[in-house]
């Protein structure tokens, strides 16, 4: 069975044309990216605003409740109720994209809000004390400090969107999920498993890439990610020659950059 799957994956015929793996992968990535972009443009500013002002917190918890709605049901409902109002290729694309955007929003909103909420009040007060305006506090202090949680929201949103885009093939959105829906329809298991392997690989690669991005862009002074804390602790131990196990206190956003360079 594994041999057949491998044969399907390596068959050159499956690597060209509109049904080929590159074009399906391109579809999958472009729909996912488009949905994430639109969702981020709405949810991240909204999350920053809610976290900064402390207003409308109910919005965060209510979007979380959306998780109980099965995404398959949302996809089918969107296709069934929106499809008739749309013409041409939009009838296939728009309902799927709308659902992907809706599903990307709760993790983005929750991550951004939680990030701003978790900012050390002392850092916020210090920024105010230095004479920063509300906007400067938000963009210069709260946002960089919120970045680890914000990016973990982006990670879960990406997983959600890439995974849902797989079953969106059932409402004709295309993408890599088409191999699964088509293969299951005609009983071609190598095609199903091959498509599933591609989908799983895509999800893993995207998640690892975002994890790497998080390590790159998060200020090393934050200690928001475990790795930075661990590295800094070992650095402190080696540098100072002490055997302390304590995690270094969160330092100011202006921590020297050199500690990240390694």
């Amino acid at each position: 069975m594994i041999g057949q799957v491998w044969a399907w994956l390596t068959d050159p015929e499956h690597w060209s044309g509109p049904d080929g793996i590159p074009s399906r992968l391109g579809e999958h990535l472009s729909y996912s990216f488009l949905a994430l972009l639109v969702a981020a443009l709405v949810a991240i500013p909204l999350g920053l605003w809610i976290g900064h002002t402390g207003r409308a917190r109910w919005l965060v918890s209510s979007t979380n409740a959306v998780r109980a709605i099965p995404s398959l049901g949302l996809l089918f409902a969107a296709a069934l109720y929106l499809g008739p109002y749309l013409r041409g290729s939009a009838a296939f694309l728009v309902p799927g994209l709308i659902v992907l955007i809706l599903l990307a929003m709760p993790p983005l909103l929750a991550g951004t809000y939680a990030g701003v909420e978790a900012v050390d009040p002392a850092a916020r007060d210090a920024a105010k004390g230095m004479g920063m305006t509300g906007r400067q506090v938000l963009l210069g202090v709260e946002m960089p400090c919120a970045l680890p949680l914000l990016l973990s929201g982006v990670r879960s949103a990406t997983l959600q969107v890439v995974g849902t885009a797989v079953i969106a093939a059932y409402i004709s959105l295309g993408g890599l999920g088409a191999y699964l829906s088509e293969g299951l329809n005609i009983g071609d298991y190598p095609m199903v498993a091959g498509g599933a392997l591609l989908v799983a690989t895509l999800a893993l690669v995207l998640d690892l890439a975002l994890a790497g991005l998080t390590r790159l862009v998060v200020s090393p002074g934050l200690g928001g990610t475990r790795r930075t804390v661990a590295r800094q602790t070992s650095r402190t131990r080696r540098g100072a020659g002490t055997a302390t196990n304590s995690v270094p206190p969160p330092s100011h956003p202006s921590t020297p950059r050199e500690s990240r360079a390694s």
Binding site: A68, I69, F76, A77, T164, L180, V192, A193, A203
Partner: protein, 240 residues
Amino acid sequence: MTWFLEHADVVGRLAVQHAYLAGVPLLIGLVLALPLGWLAQRGGPWRPILLTGTGLLYTIPSLALFVLIPLVLGTRILDPVNVLVAMTIYTIALLVRSVADGLASVPAETAAAATAMGYGGWRRLVTVELPLAIPVIAAGLRVAAVSNVSIVSVASLIGVAQLGSLLTDGYQRFYGEVLLVGIAACVVLALLFDVVIVGVTRLLTPWARAGRGARPGSGPGSHAGSGAGSGGGPRAGGAA
């Protein structure tokens, strides 16, 4: 409403099947996640292996996991066992971190007090640390339950009957009511799971309410021994 009223028995049967496919993996996953989370919490090389490994398993989209499991286990492609295994994997992936975080949240003084009272490592873990970790573990379990109920519906695409069958059926027959009944039933089932978990958690952690009410200053640790030590008695504690 007419379709639902005429087919309430069908919806009921599918709901039972759905609860089975989502609930059994939840219990198995919890049982397996307890030792794994304990291992991860102890630190050392196991921590990154377990936390990263389970995190990566969670990234695999559900439909892909459903159809890849036969490749690993040699089961039939449309076998419901694939769904049970996949849901167990997702549950473990979510809960290992919750268990590790929960055990880490136990105050060091409480653990030290238990040791000073003569509790051995194993007894301290089971009767003091684990009960005190329940709130954090339960929070993870609630997330896993809601996500399981939602994901199981996808199994209708590989022909495993549960509430998701109403979704595919409604869509294929352009029958909006069937689809909406399916969505509503999934949401109700998710809520039901949530209510049960919250209720059981309240029964198992009577000190949480006692501490909040009469003695706000007292730490949770002082009640842990009595709450867990009574063994079959959490129900009595909950009624108080």
